[in-house]
Subunit: 458 residues, 2 copies
């Protein structure tokens, strides 16, 4: 099987190149027909290896739903990817045209697939689909049941995916999800992104006097809402960098030392993370390293603050109100609604009697976290180790990945993010590339994973 993949690599690449040549830029309405072109191409492609397919219309770009469910007794996996790509501006910075894919040597002599979408996400999704294709062509059947969902709006808001998933809620019954849209730990070390932080966004506005005041006439005597707001913000963290909202750390999981030590091994040191942004010391909880603070620890950030006179020069005003946009990043089982409630109580406790506060919600999503002790994670890790000859890194993502939340909410399933991209792939930038090695060994990895999942006990 794996030898067939090696021998068929030129043909696999040719299929990838066909897809890469379609400029399916979802953000630009002028390219809507190209998005449909890509969807149609994928539909026909999937049908060549026994998937039943539908092009599902949305108010935006279509979503492809494809299934190969013949392995009746095996687990049912849902594979999510996206066929749309980022715009290509500024075009003059590309070394070769973005939609004329080519294999070139990078600075270190490695072969890379050059072109928009090679890494994000067409190259990545074809690692999975070429694996399915090879297995089907060799055996006439996949080892597990597979549902494929490929959307066309991931790069432009993805607003129609959640509604589509809701519609499928009672007809699809996947056991788990796989997503191939993330990085490896290093070019040699595979990674599974097993923890994705959730988010609670809140806007807080504190009102004091019934109008803006002259700070000469009223300065000292009139309550200043900027001062009140600052005091509340200051109190949100204690001297150890811990968030002080009551019950905030309920549901925060303990991450085993062997997982965290791997993060240092793969180079996620404080210096590596902070030095590129001009900083030296991790600013969060003192007991945790920078990578831990962003991957497995919850946080509270002030995303914006506003009040009084903000223009050039000076105006001696005491404003009637001041506001801040504040977000919490959540991990593990933290409950976003409970945190919102406790945060609001916390803020109210800082409001003097003659001020009032208003809140506005800006989203609430749970963290996505797979079971670190569950049977799937270990199985996938082993399969990846067999292909890459080293231990798989269990990593996190500090930012939210909405589809992970959507899949959790609609189907109640965990998402395993297994990707073969690299941090230097220039996704969203000129000269996007995907290592040829990622493409080749990515296909081989999925063959191993699919067979390994065949016997996993859920």
């Amino acid at each position: 099987m794996l030898k067939d993949i090696d021998q068929g690599l030129p043909q696999s690449l040719e299929r990838l190149f066909e897809l890469l040549r379609i400029p399916s830029i979802s953000a630009d309405p002028d390219y809507a027909h190209e998005c449909r072109h890509a969807a149609n191409w994928l539909k026909e492609y999937l049908e060549t290896f026994n998937f039943t397919t539908q092009i599902c219309e949305t108010e935006g770009h279509p979503i492809i739903l494809a299934q190969e469910l013949s392995a009746t007794d095996a687990p049912h996996i849902l594979f999510y990817g996206h066929y749309d790509v980022q715009p290509v501006d500024p075009l003059e910075l590309w070394h070769t045209p973005p939609f004329e894919p080519a294999i070139i040597k990078d600075a270190s002599g490695c072969d890379v697939i050059h072109g928009r979408g090679s890494s994000d996400d067409k190259g990545q999704i074809l690692t999975f689909l070429e694996a399915c294709r090879a297995i089907y062509n060799q055996t006439g059947q996949l080892p597990v049941r597979v549902t494929v969902i490929l959307e066309g709006e991931e790069e432009s808001g993805g607003e129609h995916l959640p509604g589509f998933l809701e519609v499928q809620k009672n007809s699809l019954h996947p056991d788990m999800a796989f997503i191939c849209d993330t990085d490896m730990a290093t070019p040699d070390v595979p990674a599974i992104t097993a923890m994705v932080r959730g988010l609670v966004g809140e806007e807080v506005t504190i009102y004091a006097a019934n109008r803006d005041l002259h700070s000469g006439l009223y300065g000292n005597a009139a309550r200043n809402p900027i001062q009140v707001l600052s005091e509340m913000i200051t109190a949100l963290r204690d001297g150890q960098g811990r968030v002080t909202v009551p019950e905030f750390y309920e549901g925060v999981p303990h991450i085993p030392e062997e997982i965290k030590s791997k993060w240092q091994e793969i180079g996620k040191t404080d210096e590596a993370l902070l030095s590129p942004i001009g900083l030296k010391e991790a600013a969060g909880e003192k007991a945790f390293k920078a990578v831990e603070q962003t991957w497995c620890r919850p946080s509270c950030e002030i995303n914006g603050i506003s009040g009084g006179y903000e223009g050039a020069g000076f105006k001696t005003v005491i404003p009637a109100k001041a506001s801040a946009k504040i977000s919490f990043r959540l991990v593990g089982q933290q409950d976003p609604l409970k945190i919102r409630k406790n945060f609001r109580e916390f803020v109210k406790s800082f409001i003097p009697q003659d001020c009032r506060v208003e809140f506005e919600s800006h989203g609430a999503s749970r963290a996505g976290m797979v079971s670190l002790n569950g049977p799937v994670l270990g199985t996938v890790c082993d399969a990846l180790r067999d292909e890459w000859h080293c231990e798989t890194a269990i990593v996190g993502s500090g930012g939210a990945i909405p589809v992970v939340n959507d899949l959790q909410r609609v189907f109640g399933i965990e998402s395993f993010l297994v990707g073969f991209a690299n941090v230097d792939d220039c996704i969203h930038s000129p000269n996007e590339k995907y290592n040829l090695r990622s493409f080749h060994k990515g296909i081989r990895s999925w063959v191993r994973i699919l067979y390994a999942l065949q016997t996993v006990k859920l």
Copy 2:
């Protein structure tokens, strides 16, 4: 003398009405010739009672310099006022045309002089000048030496006055200044504004990462400058409402209890000050009442704060910088430059090693405070008591009055602010008025003051 004033009141009013009919709106270039008209009118008027006069040109409206120095051995007082007025929009809200002065009855049956400039400041300056005129006409000489400076840009920035004063620095040698541009304590109680707060303005910008960051990817680990700024602002006041900048209270004077208790008697209660602006409790130092906090205690106010995303909706950013505009109101002998220096040191002590801070200065002026035990204050108080038959209130002004600082800086003299306006005079608004009683008893007051000053020992 006083009887002459009573008998001559109709003629005094006619002279005031002539001046009020000149629409000397300094902010509107279309009225520049009217400003000059007012200056010329005042020049000719002053010459009718023995003042030597000059119209001093500036790049804006002219300044009148007039002197009557024949009382060789008597003190030399500088009287400052302004002949320009505020614009009159919205015109439709005026009950009678703004530049057609008239005496009308107000709601309580009092006679008031109605028209733009009646209170701010033409009516007030003519209380002083009509007093001089009456004394000269009766005696052929003023009891003290008098220099009059009348500017035409007080309502539009006053930018040329400081330069004019500097030019006069070595030719004028006044002993003290009088300004008639303030309110009485109540319609029955005269007031001397003896303390005017100074100001130090500072803009503080705190820089952290070298660019705006995604708060998912970096939240917790990357220093958030809004958080740092909030912590610094919080620390600027202690739990008792005192400003914590080192040595901040050096030079803050003790105000005798009899002066402060008068403030409550004239109605400056916490409720009277705070209830109109929708507040209940004085927010500054707990040991002081609201009026004390604004008149005789220094303060620190946050006039503006800005950082991160401030638009509609939400953006999960950790900004590269955050800034605040912060001002200190000063009293007594507080040193603005020392406070600026100590404040900057204070801020720097809050800056983590991988942040940096920049400061921008926005003005530094000392408080204006007359000696509460000096011979002039008591003399003027006594003269006012004789006219109004009650004790004069010694009051403060929370906001800066730039000319007080200019006179202190250039001539090294104290300014005594003696005004007969009332809080309901609608200065800067439609239907400006000046109580006829203020005009009449104001002239009488100045006669008493000028004679009393004749023998004051400096």
